[in-house]
């Protein structure tokens, strides 16, 4: 049997790179969030640890590591530990199918900047993201606390409801692209307009659902501090709490990457093929372009969080089922009609 060791090394390096990237971005998202909040609220934000508080995430992480680990006596010990682990695992797994860039040519080898270009990329993401709710549900239920339980019920119903609308909005996109592979979707946008031009309504629905999936304001009901004392992670301490918080930021990062890839051209940027630059350089520039798009989305997440209030549970459900899903279906029908019209 002939094992391509270079291929394995390449993939291991890529996986470590992507994981490190997810964690690094999540870490600095916490810093970014606090800075953005501070700017919006006329404050300074973290500015003690390092230059402009840049070491603040490390300080926070270190603090969480050294905190006492408390597992409530009446909790279900196994599930209590499984909850945050699952949340973290799922958050890290999603990044596997995102194309971070085009191919690099290193020493005659074509290195793809995507961990796995599977032809069901979007379905994979949906499957994995759906698992994410288990982390929250298990954590909330195993804590044996009424507030946590309420929060996990909220989380479960919210995420399930919004996943439907999210899926429907994506179907319209898939009808246009005809492929479930994220790489294909990005490549198609490279030679044409970005999908957001064809699917503005679908994008808005997807964006709103992404907010709901990440439990971000205005959909942060599961962790509504003023109502549920912090929600599903009420009983958690130390790094298990850290995992939950971290998972949320990784989810935000992945959602942003997804939105950038599916609707905003991913690693493609205007005039990338007409500049006549070296292919490797273009790949690197493409990666930078993707990152800029991601940062814009992350900023949007934070901007919204510090500007508007949150929904009430029944309003959230009404928005999900009575408004988002019908609009998504209409969007699907319109897209279908458009495709038929184009075909003549």
């Amino acid at each position: 049997m002939n094992i391509d060791w270079f291929f394995i090394i390449e993939k291991i390096a890529l996986i470590s790179g992507v994981l490190a990237l997810s964690l690094g971005v999540a870490m600095y998202s916490t810093w970014g969030e606090r800075k953005v909040a501070a700017i919006i609220q006329d404050r300074r934000g973290p500015n003690r640890a390092g230059f402009m508080g840049l070491l603040q995430p490390l300080a926070d992480g270190g603090k969480l590591f050294f905190k006492e680990e408390i597992i409530p006596t009446l909790s279900h010990r196994f599930l209590f530990i499984l909850g945050p682990s699952l949340a973290m695992l799922v958050a890290c797994m999603t990044s596997a199918v995102i194309p971070w860039g085009d191919t690099l040519t290193i020493g005659g080898r074509q290195v793809s900047l995507q961990v796995a270009d599977i032809n069901i990329g979007i379905l994979y993401i949906f499957g994995v993201v759906s698992l994410g709710v288990y982390g929250i549900m298990l954590g909330g239920w195993a804590s044996n606390n009424k507030y946590s339980l309420l929060a996990s019920i909220r989380a479960a119903s919210q995420i399930i409801s919004y996943e439907l609308a999210m899926g429907l909005s994506l179907i319209a996109l898939l009808m246009l692209t005809g492929s479930l592979s994220l790489k294909d979707i990005v490549e198609q946008q490279r030679h044409s307009y970005w999908n957001v031009v064809y699917q503005p309504l679908g994008f808005i629905i997807f964006l709103i659902c992404a907010f709901a999936e990440c439990n971000r304001t205005p959909f942060d009901l599961p962790e509504a501090e003023n109502e549920l004392n912090g929600g599903y992670h009420l009983e958690y301490s130390s790094m298990k709490l850290g995992f939950y918080l971290f998972a949320e930021y990784i989810n935000m990062f992945i959602s942003s990457a997804l939105m950038a890839s599916m609707y905003f051209g991913g690693y493609s940027f205007p005039f990338m093929d007409s500049l006549g630059l070296d292919a490797n350089l273009i790949t690197i520039l493409g990666f930078v372009a993707l990152f800029i798009k991601i940062i814009c989305f992350l900023f949007l997440f934070m901007w919204v969080r510090w500007t508007i209030p949150r929904f009430r549970y029944d309003q959230l459900m009404r928005l999900g089922w009575n408004i988002m899903i019908p609009i998504a279906i209409v969007n699907m029908l319109l897209t279908g009609a458009w495709i038929l019209y184009k075909q003549g």
């Binding site: 909040a37 919006i40 609220q41 006329d42 404050r43 006596t73 009446l74 909790s75 279900h76 010990r77 196994f78 044996n144 009424k146 507030y147 309420l150 019920i153 909220r154 304001t217 205005p218 942060d220 509504a224 501090e225 003023n226 109502e227 004392n229 510090w306 500007t307 508007i308 209030p309 949150r310 929904f311 009430r312 549970y313 029944d314 309003q315």
Partner: protein
């Protein structure tokens, strides 16, 4: 692995269909220590039971042992978001008992401080309603300006939160020019922040949806419960002590009483915002009226109750005697019984005072508006969602210190 322990009900017993949820005494939304025992069915509140007494400090009993001037610090700790109103309410009550006439300048200075206190109280309440709906930013926009108001208190009396401001008969010292400058600064800067806050919240679709129809109470029910202040006005009754029974020369000022119609959280929010604008206008009017008055008057001429200048204590016999009598709490207080109320930031803050002529009150009762609102809380939240119950709590502006006295 520890086995999860469940409560096993005896065979044949009907299992309870609702969950009991203790909202408080240490829940972040209570903003103080008081408890609500909610019976919830899913997210819906089936019934609520209010519990008080977590920070009961027996102020009314303590007041029976204290000379009159030492009761002022007790009133600080009632509604600590607007303690100057409580202090001055007490001073006005004693002055009414003793028949002391205060000069116009003292009245206007008091009006300035009381309206500032009303603004600080309302801004906290409305900010917190925002926080409890999940919008933290508006709260911080306003909170910066509470700091400006607190600097004014600091300049006038030296302390910030529990102010113990003023004395029976007037103020303990004259306002400095810096104090007036700070008031002018507040008047110039606060309207911008308030406008920004209103832009952020008032027409925000989510905020409007969250607060409309939540915790609504009809005018009739509100009056039956004894609601006063912004909470009653939001229900559509234009009762304001400042207008109905003017004190401290409020009759000299021109202002309107904002009223709502439905008495829900949104109306309460609107009424409080409108009142802040009215208060700003009252402060402006008071500043203008002060210009024509002598600048060195800051207390009534009542040597038996108002502490003399320290210089006089050393040099004049009468001043020394009065100083001793006042400090030892041996001033002659007339026997009598009266009820005096001021328009606190939260509602009608009443003082029911019985004096038997001794050094301290025979009986003193504080009519604390929070205590009255809290009785209506179970009725307001019945059938609402859990999130509504929390907004309702902050929108009634329940302050633990006032609730329990």
């Amino acid at each position: 692995m520890s086995e999860q322990q469940h409560i096993h009900l005896p065979q044949g017993s009907v299992e309870k269909q609702t969950t009991t949820l203790n909202l408080g005494p240490t829940h972040p939304a209570t903003h103080g220590v008081f408890q609500n025992i909610l019976e919830i069915d899913g997210e819906r509140v089936m019934s609520a039971e209010s519990t008080v007494g977590y920070i009961h400090r027996a102020f009314e009993k303590i007041a029976e042992r204290r000379p009159y001037y030492q009761i002022t610090p007790l009133t600080d700790r009632l509604n600590y978001c607007s303690s100057p109103i409580n202090n001055m309410g007490w001073h006005l009550t004693v002055e009414k008992l003793l028949g002391i006439q205060t000069p116009k300048r003292v009245d206007y200075l008091r009006v300035i401080i009381m309206e500032l206190a009303r603004i600080t109280d309302h801004l906290i309440c409305n900010g917190v309603v925002g926080v409890d709906t999940g919008a933290f930013t508006g709260f911080l926009y306003l909170m910066q300006f509470r700091e400006l108001a607190y600097e004014i208190y600091e300049e006038v009396c030296g302390s910030r939160l529990t102010t113990n401001i003023g004395r029976i008969g007037g103020f303990e010292r004259n306002f400095t020019p810096v104090a007036f400058q700070k008031i002018e600064k507040f008047l110039a800067e606060y309207p911008k922040a308030l406008k920004e806050f209103e832009t952020l919240m008032t027409r925000n679709r989510i905020f409007v949806d969250r607060t409309t129809g939540v915790g609504a109470i009809s005018a009739e029910r509100a009056m039956n419960y004894g609601f006063t202040g912004p909470n009653l006005r939001a229900a559509g009754v234009d009762y304001d002590v400042r207008v109905a029974h003017p004190y401290s020369s409020y009759e000299d000022f021109d202002f309107t009483i904002p009223v709502g119609s439905t008495g829900d959280c949104y109306d309460r929010y609107l009424v409080r915002n409108a009142e802040m604008w009215q208060s700003l206008s009252i402060i402006r009017q008071a500043m203008d009226k002060l210009k024509g008055l002598p600048e060195d008057v800051y207390h009534a001429d009542v040597p038996a109750y108002y502490l003399p200048e320290k210089q006089d204590v050393y040099n004049k016999m009468e001043a020394l005697i009065y100083h001793f009598k006042i400090i030892m709490g041996e001033s002659d207080i007339l026997p009598g019984e009266l009820y005096n109320a001021v328009e606190g930031a939260n509602g009608e803050l009443g003082f029911y005072l019985i004096s038997d002529g001794g050094r301290s009150p025979y009986r003193l009762h504080f009519r604390r508006p929070c205590f009255i609102y809290y009785q209506a809380y179970p009725e307001l939240v019945k059938g609402a969602m859990l999130s509504d119950a929390i907004i309702c709590l902050s929108s009634l502006n329940l302050i633990a210190g006032e609730l329990d006295a």
